[in-house]
Amino acid sequence: MPLMNAQQYEESLRKLNLKVYMFGKRVENVVDDPIIRPSMNAVAATYEFAHYPEYEDLLTTTSHITGKKINRFCHIHQSTEDLVKKTKMGRLMGSLTGCCFQRCVGMDAMNALSMTTYDIDQKYGTQYNKRFLKYLEYVQENDLTCDGAMTDPKGDRSKAPHQQADPDMFMRVVEERPDGIVVRGAKCHQTGAVNSHEIIIMPTISMREEDKDYAISFALPSDAEGITYIMGRQSCDTRKLEKGTMDRGNQIYGGHEALVVFDDVFVPWERVFMYKEWDFAGQLVEQFASYHRQSYACKAGVGDVLIGATQIIAEYNGANKASHVKDKIIEMNHLNETLFCGSVACAAEGHKEPSGTYLVNTLLANVCKQNVTRFPYEIARLAQDIAGGLMVTLPSEEDFRSPEVGKWVEKYYKANADVPTEYRMRMLRLIENITLGTAAVGYLTESMHGAGSPQAQRIMIARQVNMNAKKKVAKKLSGIPEDE
C-alpha cells in the first residue's frame, strides 16, 4: 500500500511485537500507552495529511523506481526541487504538529545509503546498491516509517571503537554466518523508534581499518528478535497520566526517544548495506548528517506554533499593543525565518551525486544546523518573556476544576475580560510544553545535539570554507603582494 492513512498506519503498528520498557516495566500495549500515544499521533499525521489536497504537493511525490505516487518521507531526492520540497515538508509538519514528527530521520538514512552503497560498489564491485534499492522499494510499497539509527553510546570519547574497554560501545559484528551476520551494541536517542516499522543502522563516526568490525550498516524490522527499546524520559511526561489533558499543553501530538539495544541480533545478508568497508563509514556519516541538518527546517514549523501562541498570550494578557512586545515578536519571526532560509539555501544549492541522488550543499547545511543550535533558544526565551512567570507558577487543571479553589483560580488568573481564564491557561501550557515541557526535548535540546552537536557543524564549516580565497582577495584589496 504505497500511501497509508493514519488509521492504516496505526493498525500496522499494532501488528508489531516490540519489546519496549518504560519505568522498569514492559509496555504491553505500545500504541495505546498514554505516554507514547501522542508521539504515534505525530507520525500518523505524516500519513494522514498526505491525503489532504492542501498538503499533498509536499507530502507526496513519484517514486523514481516504480513511478508510483508515494509519501515523500520514503523518497530519494531526484532534483534540487525535491530537496527544497523536503525542506518545506519539514516546516509544514512542524507547524501542524508543534513537535517532532519523527519520520525525517529514516528518509535521511535512506538517501545517504542510496549514495554510499553505490559508491562502495564502484570501488569494491559489491552489490550493496542493488540490495538497497530492493529494500527501498519494499519501504515505498508498504509506506513504512524507518528509524535511521546512527548514534552509538561511544563510551570513552578519547578512544576509537576498537580501543574501548567495553567493545560494545559501538555497534559491531560479533559473528559471520553463511546466511548473514550477528550484531551487538546499542543506539541512543532514537527518535520515534517505537513508532517505526523498520530500523536502519549506520556507523556513528569515521573509522580506520582497526575498526572494520564496527563499519556496518543494515536494516531490520523494528521487532526483530533481540532488539529491546528503553524509553527516554521527558520533562513533564507523567502529566499524560493525569486526569485532565489541559496541563499537557499540546493536546494531540508529541515525540519520543529511546535507547535501542541489539543483543546478538541476526541480520540476513540481503539487509546488509555495508560490511567492514571502513573507508566509507565517514562518508555515510557526513552525508546522513548533512541531510539531517537540512531536516531541521522542522524547527521553523514548531517556531510558527510558538510564535502564534506567544502572540495570542500577549493578546490574552492585554500586552499585545506594547511596542516592546511587538518588537520581540518581530525578532522571533526574524530568527524563525532565518532558520528556514538556511534549510532552503542548502537544498536549492544541492547537486547530483554519481548514484543519481541529489545531495544538499553540505557547507550550507552545517550553517543551517548551527543556527538551529541557537535560535530556538532565543525564540523560546522571548516567548517566556512575553508569556510571563505565570507560565511556570500556574496551578494544575485539577485545581482549576476544584469545587473548593477553582473559583479563585478562575477569578485571579482572569486578564482580558473577553477571554475565558481557561483559554489563557491553555495557551500558557502550550508555551510551557514547547519551551520546557515534553516538546522542549525536540524544540531545544534536540536542536542543540540532534544531527550532531554544535561543534560538529563548526568543524565541518571550518573544513569547507575556502579560506585561501578569502585571504587572497583581502591581500589584493589592501595592496599586499599575494606571496607575502
Partner: protein
C-alpha cells in the same frame, strides 16, 4: 445538461502560506454558489485547473496538467479578481 463549471483544484503544499488557502477556496465556492464545482485536478473534462499557491513562489508541481488551461492565484487579491471574472463582472 448542467451549466456547472468543473474546476480542477490543485493546492501548493502550504509550507508557509501568506493567507488561508483553504478559506479562500471556500469563499470562491460561497460566492459562486452552484455555478462551479471543484473536482480533483486529475479528473478529465475540467474547464480549467485552479492552482492555489500560498505565496508568489508558486511551487506546486503543475507538470501533470501540461496542455490544460491553468489559472494561478497567489493572494487574497487574486482570489477576489477570480471571483469577479467567474461572475462575469470583469
Amino acid at each position: 445538461m448542467s451549466n456547472t463549471r468543473k474546476i480542477g483544484l490543485k493546492y501548493c503544499g502550504g509550507c508557509s502560506p501568506r493567507y488561508d488557502r483553504v478559506d479562500m477556496v471556500k469563499r470562491i465556492k460561497e460566492e459562486l454558489g452552484g455555478t462551479i464545482e471543484f473536482v480533483s485536478p486529475d479528473e478529465p473534462g475540467t474547464d480549467f485547473i485552479l492552482a492555489v499557491m500560498g505565496c508568489d513562489t508558486a511551487c506546486a508541481n503543475l507538470d501533470p496538467f501540461e496542455g490544460k488551461l491553468i489559472r494561478i492565484i497567489t493572494s487574497e487579491k487574486d482570489t477576489e479578481k477570480l471571483i469577479k471574472e467567474l461572475k462575469g463582472e470583469n
